[in-house]
């Protein structure tokens, strides 16, 4: 089936973006000539060592940081501030202590003025889908870390954004919970086909979830390579033991070793 024009057009276009903190010559170059085009319905991960500017890049795309030069376009329009059709999940769940779980999920709609009783029903459904049905009226402190991050994902996707940005969302979770949420996210993507930009420092996680993996290096923060991940969908946890999976992970790891970002021995 040939792709239509709107499917061909990237939903997110980052062109020659630079970000310098402070002013030259003493300024810190956080990002240098970043070029990235994210296709609609694509799951793209950005992997890199800490300090490579991957979170900064995401904040720039989210309109939360200004860029020093270059352009960022969402649906062909240069952004000024946070794009409206965007949902974002942060490293920490950032749930508000004084709101119950469902009220936390609904807060974005309150900011946008879109809260209705239908949306409330939708939020309840979403929480059930994410295994939080019994916890809707509980407060965040009554939930485990994994449950809290699930609630944060519900908050980000309730308004059905076209573009979902995720900034190391599972970085603070234990390995088992992380696997669990990876699987959940893969399933969510399979069902909704949202465009996702996912930041992580885990190569395995990135390969498992993504259609493409962009690899970043630091000093200055830049994209050094982009890998196509042609593993079959839907993805399963067993796939991570397959030879194809390991081969891709190794390729990316070797590339990081080439540029001196990681040591191999």
């Amino acid at each position: 089936m040939p792709l239509s024009a709107s499917e061909m057009q990237p939903i997110l276009e980052v062109r020659n973006v630079a970000k310098i903190y402070g002013s030259a010559p003493s300024g810190v170059e956080a990002l240098r000539s970043i070029d990235l085009a994210v296709r609609p319905r694509e799951f793209l991960s950005i992997v890199g060592p800490s300090g490579c500017g991957k979170s900064t890049l995401l904040k720039c795309i989210a309109g939360l940081e200004t860029i020093t030069s270059g352009t960022i376009k969402v649906r062909g329009e240069e952004i000024s501030g946070p794009p409206t059709q965007m949902g974002i999940v942060f490293q920490r769940d950032l749930l508000l202590d004084w709101r119950t779980v469902i009220e936390n999920v609904l807060i974005i709609s309150e900011f946008r003025g879109t809260r209705t009783s239908e949306l409330e029903a939708k939020a309840a459904e979403l929480l059930v889908r994410f295994g939080l049905g019994d916890f809707q009226r509980r407060y965040p402190w009554e939930l485990s870390g994994g449950m809290r991050q699930r609630a944060a994902i519900c908050r980000a996707i309730l308004d059905n954004p076209e573009l979902l940005l995720m900034d190391e969302p599972f970085g603070a979770l234990d390995a088992m919970t992380r696997d669990d949420l990876n699987l959940e996210l893969a399933r969510l993507w399979q069902e909704t086909r949202k465009t996702v930009v996912f930041i992580t420092h885990g190569i395995q996680e990135a390969v498992f979830l993504s259609d493409r993996v962009a690899m970043m290096a630091r000093n200055p923060g830049r994209i050094v390579d982009i890998f196509e991940i042609d593993l079959p969908r839907p993805r399963t946890l067993e796939m991570r033991d397959s030879a194809e999976f390991s081969a891709i992970v190794h390729r990316i790891r070797d590339r990081f070793a080439d540029i001196g970002a990681i040591r191999t021995e």
Partner: protein, 259 residues
């Protein structure tokens, strides 16, 4: 936890009762004269013999305290919001407030009498002056200590400043505000009493002054006991309100957890 709290309460009450009994015993056994140091039983009798007198004066003091507290609370929160959002107000008003706070406010009491007369107004003014600082300082602290990432979460959804204030800054400042309120309610009572000491013809402060002039020590003690009870009850009312309004706050969490 509730079991622990109630056993704490029992210990506290038991200790108080023991102190009162010891006091009674010492006064009686040593034959201390009443105008120097009356026994607890004498003080209780004093209150029971003149219930109308004490009720009238206590109500007056209570009214001054509550009105002063209410004004300090609303004005203090408004000022704090202004200070947090305006660099100009922070540089001017906040610095002025800090400077004014270092003046012993009791010294201002005669001024308020000159300006506002001898009725309730100057007493309320003193109560407000003494109580407001705690409210402003704690609310400013609370409004400022919002996690920057939480603000990013709101900004990513294009929330405006008003929404951020209402839905994020203010609720997250509530624990701080309540800490300020607990200090302020006691300070408002002090302010009311100081006002009554300086001028006027009503209130427990006035009752104490009159009784002192006549060496009516049991009446002075009775007034002090009522003031103590009033202060304690007011404090715990604010505490109860806090528990009711902030069930989510760490300091009130019970044993109920998910896992």
């Amino acid at each position: 936890m509730p079991k622990l709290a109630s056993s704490g309460l029992v210990q506290g009450a038991g200790f108080l009762v023991a102190c009162v009994l010891l006091w009674e015993a010492i006064v009686r056994l040593a034959g201390v004269r009443e105008f120097l140091f009356p026994a607890p039983s004498t003080i209780v009798m004093e209150i029971l013999n003149y219930p109308g007198f004490f009720a009238r004066n206590a109500l007056y003091t209570l009214l001054v305290t509550l009105v002063g507290f209410a004004i300090a609370l609303s004005l203090g929160v408004a000022l704090a919001i202004g200070i947090v959002y305006s660099r100009l107000l922070e540089n001017t008003l906040y610095s002025l407030l800090v400077a004014l706070n270092s003046i012993p406010k009791v010294a201002l009491a005669p001024l308020f009498v000159i300006w506002l007369g001898t009725e309730m107004a100057p007493k309320i003014a003193i109560a407000v002056t003494i109580a407001i600082f705690a409210i402003v300082v704690d609310t400013v602290l609370g409004l400022r200590s919002v996690d920057p990432e939480t603000l990013n979460m709101a900004r990513a959804a294009r929330a405006n400043e008003w929404q951020i204030l209402r839905k994020i800054r203010f609720p997250s400042a509530l624990p701080s505000l309540f800490a300020g309120m607990k200090v302020a309610i006691s300070f408002a009572l002090v302010g009311a009493l100081v006002g009554e000491f300086v001028a006027g013809s009503q209130g427990l402060g006035h009752a104490i002054l009159l009784a002192q002039g006549m060496f009516d020590t049991p009446r002075v003690f009775a007034s002090i006991v009522i003031l103590g009870l009033m202060g304690t009850i007011l404090f715990y009312l604010v505490d109860a309100l806090e528990r009711y309004m902030l069930p989510w706050h760490a300091s009130h969490r019970g044993v109920r957890t998910a896992m």
